[in-house]
């Protein structure tokens, strides 16, 4: 069992949990994810890793209450435990293979949508520690749903908050902010977008106008998360890839987003019936 050491509400229906999982904590790297399960009848739910502390043996996750399975997760309190907590899964971000010398001269732009802010955090933190220059766009529907702004400011040179309704920060979508930054002459060696599939698709279209290299992290359906089931297959550069073992990060320009979005809806009718509208924390922006 994997005990919840701390729980904190970040926004309405969004909570952060620090979970005791020493093995995951000591091997997690930026870009990877994990799978949790609550109870004997529970689903295997893929979640992004928000932070990890190998010394304390803890891993931080952020989750949003949107359907049956995420409600079960959200309902857990401090002191209670996950039945299962397995990871890290997937490949780490490419940049962990770069040496500090090269990272020190690099400028990164992250585009985080909603809950996608959580997995962006460990990447920004890592790059910041290696001396890279990092800027972050955080997008949310409204002010209440902006998460981790303060934490992000500690590790990023600049943080641009956008809200759809203009209740906080820049009024508009992350793509509008991205456009503004590019139009005003900013340049970046690499951009990374993590958020709902539809957001990543449009960030890709915008980034393309500026030939900005872009990585996206795909939150597909999954069962085992180890390459066994193929539920997570996506078409990248015309070839079928498994997001769980070949990803979750891919070159945005090679991803067939329309197929990926369509595949995410595969169990929608069953989920609506069982009232689990969503099994992946990243879906809501």
């Amino acid at each position: 069992m994997y005990k919840i050491l701390k729980k904190r509400i970040l926004a309405p229906d969004i909570c952060l949990m620090e979970v005791s999982a020493p093995r995951v904590a000591s091997s997690a790297q930026p870009g990877q994810f994990l799978i949790v399960r609550v109870g004997e009848k529970g689903e295997r739910v893929p979640l992004t890793i928000c932070d990890y502390n190998p010394v304390a043996g803890s891993v931080t996750i952020v989750t949003q209450r949107v359907g049956a399975s995420s409600r079960k997760i959200y309902a857990l309190d401090e002191g209670e435990s996950f039945s299962d907590f397995v990871g890290p899964l997937g490949l780490p971000s490419e940049f962990i293979h770069e040496d500090e010398e090269s990272l020190r001269n690099k400028k990164y732009l992250f585009v985080a949508g909603g809950l996608g802010t959580a997995p962006v955090y460990p990447q920004v933190k890592y790059l910041h520690q290696k001396g890279a220059h990092v800027e972050v766009i955080i997008g949310a529907k409204t002010k209440d749903l902006v998460i981790m702004e303060e934490e992000m400011k500690q590790v990023a040179e600049k943080v641009y908050v956008c809200t759809d309704d203009g209740s906080y920060g820049f009024k508009g979508l992350v793509t509008a902010k991205l456009k503004e930054l590019m139009e005003s002459g900013n340049t970046y060696h690499q951009a990374v977008a993590i958020g709902p599939m539809i957001m990543m698709k449009f960030v890709t279209l915008t980034a393309k106008e500026y030939n900005l290299p872009l990585i996206v992290s795909l939150n597909t359906l999954m069962v085992d998360g180890t390459g066994m089931c193929g539920a997570c297959r996506v078409t990248v550069d015309g070839k079928t890839k498994f997001a769980c073992v070949d990803g979750p990060e891919f070159d945005a320009y090679q991803v067939d987003f329309d197929e990926a979005m369509r595949r995410q809806t595969m169990y929608k009718p069953q989920e609506a019936e069982a009232d689990h509208k969503c099994k992946i924390g990243l879906k809501n922006g």
């Binding site: 295997r44 397995v86 069962v223 180890t226 089931c229 069982a274």
Partner: protein, 459 residues
Amino acid sequence: MDKKTRIPVREQDPIARSRNFEEVSYGYDHKEALLEASRCIQCKNPRCVAACPVTIQIPQFIKAVLDNDLPGAASIIGKDSSLPAVCGRVCPQESQCEGACIMGIKHEPIAIGKLERYVADWARKNKYTPEETIKPNGKKVAVIGSGPAGLACATDLAKAGCDVTIFEALHKPGGVLVYGIPEFRLPKEEVVDYEIDQVRKLGVKIECNVVVGRTVTIDQLMDNEGFHAVFVGSGAGLPKFLGIPGENLNGVVSANEFLTRSNLMGAYAPDSDTPIYVGRRVAVVGGGNVAMDAARTALRLGAEVTIVYRRTRKEMPARVEEVHHAEEEGVVFQMLTNPVAVLGNEKGWVTGLKCIRMELGEPDESGRRRPVEIPGSEFDIPCDVAVIALGTSSNPLIAKTTPGLEINRHNGIVANEKGVTSRPGVFAGGDVVTGAATVILAMGAGREAAKSILEYLGV
């Protein structure tokens, strides 16, 4: 009594069982088992034992059954197999022990599998566990994967006194026994969980949720956690697809996904949180045991099911019994048929398989006649879900993260018949070495590797 024919085994009615997940075969009762045991002629030089991958002393255990000494029979089997109730149910006996049975030359072979199941079920129901005296030898061994290979290896190592920990990637131990083989062929709680608990009783620890290659590497296990040797029995978990247009349409799933949802996640039961979808019509592509399992699962979930196979029934790799059961239950077979495309609607959902008729040509390298397309014979098989059951290959995760571990072109780990790999202290066996095979062959490989590990450790 006519000793030429075997005692038939009672089964659930085909129509009734095609709508439930309870076990198909009821197994022998005491009287039936005695009668069947009396058919064995107790060969001095038993061919059945030589044909058993784990060399169970078959005539001896059958003799014990006949003498009404069921504890004795259970102990004899227990010396060589830690999963007798599993093997009695899922082994392809017809091509192993029973295939070699001398009675089979002129008459029907002894129903060795059914007798093994009878003994194992008796032991479980009567809580009989053979005594084991274990003397610790101070050696720590890590076993990766809790499927048949890992369990068999761990059992022999534990009996020899090793301190064994099994690392399992999923949340439940058992490997293919829990995620692959359905409840109606192999009851999970009653049979699989019990036999795994028996392995635990030998002192074997099982740590779930550890994906070796991600959560921890083999080098870390050996360098930081003090394991003196490692056995890799991680199986062949990677699904193969057809590589035809439309394969990523919604509703096209691998048999692994379909069966994992139903078996491991319990999606066949209404109280599971994991969804599964069959629609009205399901097409299953493939002719192996996994294809039969997927087809029969879909049937039980309420679908009309068609199996699409490119050769004929004779070439089907599935066990005769499984094909027979599927047919009895109402699965339709489209033989000499090969899908060339998956058809879909405007919403991106599968609507059918575009297929072409085949005929058998010259034998290929496997000795089976190669199926050849008949030009112009295309036709459609409508379906709401297509399950692809074309086999699996090894997961490359461990090989990729273990420097010095040689792999073959199928990503399988290279190991000899004794389980020795290119890395000292690292042994491997089962599907990860051979590609997808059977439960019992994996167990045999696990036992061979256990011998090599004990030799390597000098105990």
